[in-house]
Symmetry: C2
């Protein structure tokens, strides 16, 4: 990595930003030159996990899902983490090197660009890979927090069109995550009360035997949908193989409904799981956030988002789709 | 307004979102059908302020800058504000009607789409209109906070291409603004110490006799620039006529530099001024935020922005432009 990424802290506003200049070099990969396609394994760093055909060799062809370190990582690898590192910038030390890990899940050997077009088996393998890499980093012990997310489409921030998702892990918990995690109203668990009879709610979208989809009460974008496991658990990485399989059903269902109602929008998918080793009083979920609107000066200036659709209306449209 | 806008509060994350369905009906106005062009005054609500040629009549042609209520306001007018209104949603009352004001500054009678192409006199009139409407609402007494902002270009959230800016005012102060406003490090004022010798700083961009432009220490986007008045004042609405004139000089200079370095990006401009009647320990500024990047799942999931350019590098490029 040519330039060391840094955390910056603005003492005038309290804002923390990660400056990661090497990410500006990442290619906009489309079409046959795609570094994620089978046969192009040499164009990524060596894999850290792969689901492979019997007899195939690491970093060669013959795989379903491959996990590799992000060549254009936003953070310097946690392998270099110095003893006694103070993780986030503070008022006393407003600049600081940024350590962590950044991995990419290549979700298909062929050049598929739409996640919900993957086979059910293929998507299940990808989701198990998310879980297994989260488990790996939880057990490693050096990170305090990691998040799995997917950006599909350029207006959702994807620079490579080949189906993929990402994991970024940090040796500290982001301040906003701490804030949300500490939010008092998870006790008794509202998700657990709500998933008992989800169809009674005007924001219900759909359900499977293990998951419920609803539009959240304060969605950021029209059509934003939350997928909640019926089984109480603080962390996604504790999900069973059956839950991973079942998650694909509800995820594909939700994505199909969103595509139908909102004309195939780009979207972000965010796995909201408790920070490592801080599981009390939390219930994991997934946000599916179609990028159906653009944030403007007001939102950036005040932090108050404006959404043009009531979640009850979005849910009604999604239910009918 | 067909549907009453509402504040929604998510008890699971603490997120507040304004749901404003009528905004979905706002037109994407381009070209000759533009409702903001001179001669089309009947297509907007009646003006609340206008800088007019002698002898011209309100809501007819013959003006330089016109201020009108936003036909697609995000909030229900403060005229309807009930006695004892609890302004923001809370855990006890997670839904609530959204009151406030939303006004549009039409910054040119002709169909100009690029703010920095306006004449200096024209832009000065627009900026004085910002100040005067903020003064009006401060003196009105019903609002606690108002923000002036500009969205230029569709990826910055503009739905009308004709040069315009906006003001949204609320009967409460947005939580994030309170947080930033309370930030302890404004005392002694860092801006005041910094503007004494601004060229010594590696993040200096340019200056006029009344303003300094710098890249902030933790910018959200490559090229983000902060314009700071040398004269200490908590609020933009106290700016003098001379400051309004001088502000155009530095604003046009900064916009020209950003256009040159970042190839005419869409941008947001945000006037950061103290909430009404809470001026202690604040120094107003303007954020110019070129939309040189797209936010993705990680940013939405954690609140931690990733910027691909160090502010020192951005300032170096902008200084050279």
């Amino acid at each position: 990595m040519a330039q060391v990424p840094e955390w910056r802290f603005d003492p005038l506003t309290g804002r923390r930003v990660l400056i990661s200049p090497d990410r500006a070099d990442r290619p906009r990969a489309v079409g046959p030159a795609c570094p994620f396609c089978e046969g192009h394994e040499a164009e990524t760093p060596p894999e850290v996990l792969a689901y492979r055909d019997p007899g195939s060799v690491p970093n060669g062809p013959g795989w379903q899902v491959r996990v590799v370190p992000n060549r254009y990582a936003a953070v310097r690898t946690v392998e270099d983490l110095p003893e006694g590192y103070l993780p986030a910038p503070t008022d006393e030390a407003p600049w600081g090197r940024a350590y962590g890990i950044a991995e990419v899940f290549v979700e298909s050997p062929t050049h598929e660009t739409v996640f919900r077009n993957l086979s059910h088996a293929q998507a299940t393998t990808a989701i198990r890979a998310w879980r297994n890499r989260l488990r790996y980093w939880r057990d490693d012990g050096r990170l305090m927090f990691a998040q799995v997310f997917k950006n599909e489409g350029s207006s959702a921030g994807a620079s490579v069109e080949h189906c993929h998702s990402q994991l970024i892990g940090l040796p500290f918990v982001p301040p906003r995550v701490i804030e949300e995690f500490r939010f008092p109203d998870m006790h008794p668990c509202r998700f657990c009360s709500w998933t008992v009879n989800p169809r009674l709610d005007s924001r219900f979208v759909s359900e499977t035997d293990m998951f419920v989809a609803q539009c959240p009460v304060a969605p950021r974008f029209p059509g934003e949908t939350r997928i909640i496991p019926k089984q109480h658990s603080a962390t996604f990485e504790n999900a069973s193989d059956d839950e991973a399989t079942n998650l694909v059903h509800i995820l594909f269902d939700v994505l199909r409904r969103i595509d139908h109602v909102f004309s195939n929008p780009d979207y972000n998918l965010i796995v909201r799981s408790a920070p490592f080793r801080h599981e009390a009083n939390f219930h994991w979920w997934i946000d599916v956030m179609p990028r159906t609107a653009t944030t403007a000066g007001w939102e950036w200036g005040t932090g108050l988002l404006i959404n043009t659709m009531f979640p009850e209306r979005a849910a009604e449209l999604l239910r009918a789709a």
